[in-house]
Amino acid sequence: MSILLPRTITRRRVLRSVLDGAAVTLALPFLDCALNGNGTALAASGKPLPLRFGTWYWGMGHTPGHAIAEKAQTGSGIGFLEETAALKPLADQLNFFSGFGMPLDGRSNYTHFTGWVGNRTGSVPQKEGEIASPTLDLLIADTIGAGTRFKTLDASSAGIARENYSARSTESRAQAEISPVALYTRLFGPDFVDPNAGTFQPDPAVMLEKSVLSAFVEQNRDFSRTLGAEDRRRLDEYFTSIRQLENRLALQLEKPVPNEVCVRPARPAEPAPDKLAQVREIPNVIETHAIMAKLLAMAVACNQTRVFNMVFTDNFANVRKKGETYTHHLLTHTEMIDPSRGYQPMAFWFNQRCSEAFAAYLATLASIREGSGTLLDNCLIFAASETNYAKLHTIDSIPVWLAGKAAGRIKTGLHVVGGGDPITRVGLTAMKIMGVPLRNWGTKSLQTSKPITEVMV
């Protein structure tokens, strides 16, 4: 953390000054901590540009045979078809994974639930609603999330806060931010410290807030010991949450590294009342998603977080077209397959919008220059749905994308064919790339110790 302060002034000195009530102004040459000559590292610290991880979720999978051309074996070149045409320009930033299995070991397929839980946690639920293991984004955040304001960020354009696919357990499931204005306020509101401000003045009130939190945590340690084991575990989660806020406050007391990429975005407009009443109409979903994508991308570029989760549509795809009686989800089960096209036209239309949204999301990340490349080059985005073919609720061969160059740690442009191997191989690969010290991952038949080395550098 000390790299964030000029060497001649220790953090302790700053804080002592703060506590003495003296206003401290720490002037730094503007942008003196920019990138090195190669554009690959921070000049001030010599540390490499941070590696970031994101997830992106859409409901209802792809339309088999009309999204990606099938392959018999792993190889370069992804065969983008009509449904995924929007992703073709980003081919050199993508890997596509198909043919991986979701063995249930005799458990039920809880429709639109088992798929994402198994894929993201490595454990198939034993009962409806159960999330037995942490999702992979949190395991990655435990590894790379320190030193930023937010260990993880969760946003959703689907308008349902609880439908977020990041959880430590059944009872510890983060809720997504569903309002662009609220997301903006959280990221760039009054507590945002502009790293490029010419002067820096630590706020004494923040120091005090941090002291208060620490003191209350200490006091409640004794209280924790009187509780049963389960409640103690719940309270530990609460303490963990406080510690994250303490860390955030600590960062607010430190001069951030100047960062020319980081520009506080404009505050989104309050949505009109008619839009608020129609949050899940697809044009509104797309608009919300675009705003949130920009906010998240800038938050990542501003080093406010290194792990970020975006939900485009939820696992029951409660999105709809104006005037249509069926939602995307209902269409997948009721719409007749058009014999001339070989698919359900309206369900396919929604699937296309999902692919376009994913492409737009990646393009937003790629629009931010960072070093000699783009923000997307320093990210790994794990994008997946909960099903392969929604019409039949199939969970084998759930489509998974890995996007971004992960700062050169991943090869791209490959279509990886799983051959029935557990889908956890993809998640394990992502975690290995992000540096999570795991030997194996998953439970029962989903357990694997084999990352997909074909895509790893």
């Binding site: 039920s108 349902i160 009872e171 809720q175 409640n220 009187t226 049963g228 406080i242 129609q278 104006k322």
Partner: protein, 552 residues
Amino acid sequence: MSGWKGGSHVGVALSAALALAACVPNEPPSAGAPATLRRLSNDQYRNIIADVFGPQITVAGQADALQRSYGLLAVGASKAEITPSGYEKYYAMARSVARQAVSLDNRASVVPCTPRSAAEPDENCAQQFFVKVGRLLYRRPLAPAELALVLRMAGEGARLRQDFYGGLEVGLVGMLQSPQFLFVVDTLEPDPAHAGKPRLTAYARAARLSLLLWNTSPNEQLLTAAEHGALDGAAGRKDIVDRMLSSPRVEAGVRAFFEDFLRFDQFETLEKDSVIYPAFSVRVVEDAREQVLRTVLKHVLDKRADYRDLFTTRDTFITGSLARIYRVPTAKPEGSAWVPYEFPDDDPRAGLLTEVGFAALASHPGRSSPTLRGRAIRENLLCQKVPDPPGNVDFSRFESADAQKKTARERLALHSTNAACAGCHKITDPIGLALENLDGIGQFRSTENGVVIDASGTLDGVPFNDAAGLGRAMRDNPATTSCVVQRLASYSLGRNTTGSDKPFVDYLGQSFARDDYDFLELLRRVALSETLFAVAPPVGASSGVQTARMEP
């Protein structure tokens, strides 16, 4: 802060006395369950803040919603954790509430003393403030160490800000983000009547009562009564419970239960297509929810009517926005004022199931859904689990049913011909189809696609011809009353009732019948029960019994 006087429900004590005089079963003994932390609901949080600091305080934002468990958010509260992002929300709410509480506008009513100087610490005045407020927020007096800490924080805050009230704000933020406030803590003490076993402290008993009956923390009067042992014996507790039930505040408690029982949190994400249903609006969502609750409250609180008659009553309330949906000419078209309304005898609507709230909630955004409605009736109102659809259904045979079939009944008939689907659809669809005269937002229709709707069916063998008939069948179905009893038991205990609770649930069910299905009397029996306060030692605690903090 409201006391417990005044009230529209003053008949409770009298009817209770009469009921006690009749032959009623005795409450069976209960071993209880380990005490748990229960996270406050958003409504409880708001109620407490309004009680402690005044209704003028705005609680900006809201915490993460609780997750439903065994049909109830109240059970989920006993499992709920606070995630990092969830804690952030609590922290933002704490900062906002604390800032408002000590603002120039509010400090006179909130702070019980005037500091020597507004620009510096005053420990004496700060102590008066935190002793008073801390007791209400933590639902017990502050322990000496707790008081010392918050005073130290307030002192440092006052010095740094050169503002006494700024110091109070700092201390308040600390308390409002504390687990002692955000979680309802079942504080334990050794039970003098049963050596080696714990019991709830008087304060914890007061909290259980207050949250059950008023959906808020105990007020000063209740805490003081508890402190003086009023909850230790049956007579004292009866006096307190009857006074609480006679207070208008019991409306908040009953409202909270029915919102949870009826799963009204789903209204927060309810949307309808604006082209298909132009009459539907955000206002309709709010009013539809409120209409059901007003119907329930009038029925069970004001009229003390038979709970079962909720499914047949024609007595309700209406607003202008709802009048458009109901096509009722009496209310002003755009007015939002609530007026009593009774559906005429020849109106096809009768009972909760035919109100817009139920019909719209259990439908899709652009169409009605007999399956969703049937499932809601089975699971929410009859406490019967409908299995989830199997994961391997081939939907091909249902494709384009819309184009070929005119009515929902015809479309759903296909499901009964498929073995994989028929089992569950036979449970849900016959009763859901009874409501097909109500479209996706509850507007009446007699035809669908030009075909007259057939709303007849059976509920567990009882035939009916229409929605009103379904209401009568619901009224007379034993599961209707056993369900509300079982849910109220779980709601009050904060956990799913299990086999060992069956004697208690049976006792409540028998009492409910003897009390002519008077819901308030049922609530009273729960509040007076020993089971409500029964606890077992915590599992895995390093010290099995928590020392009570009785001293201020």
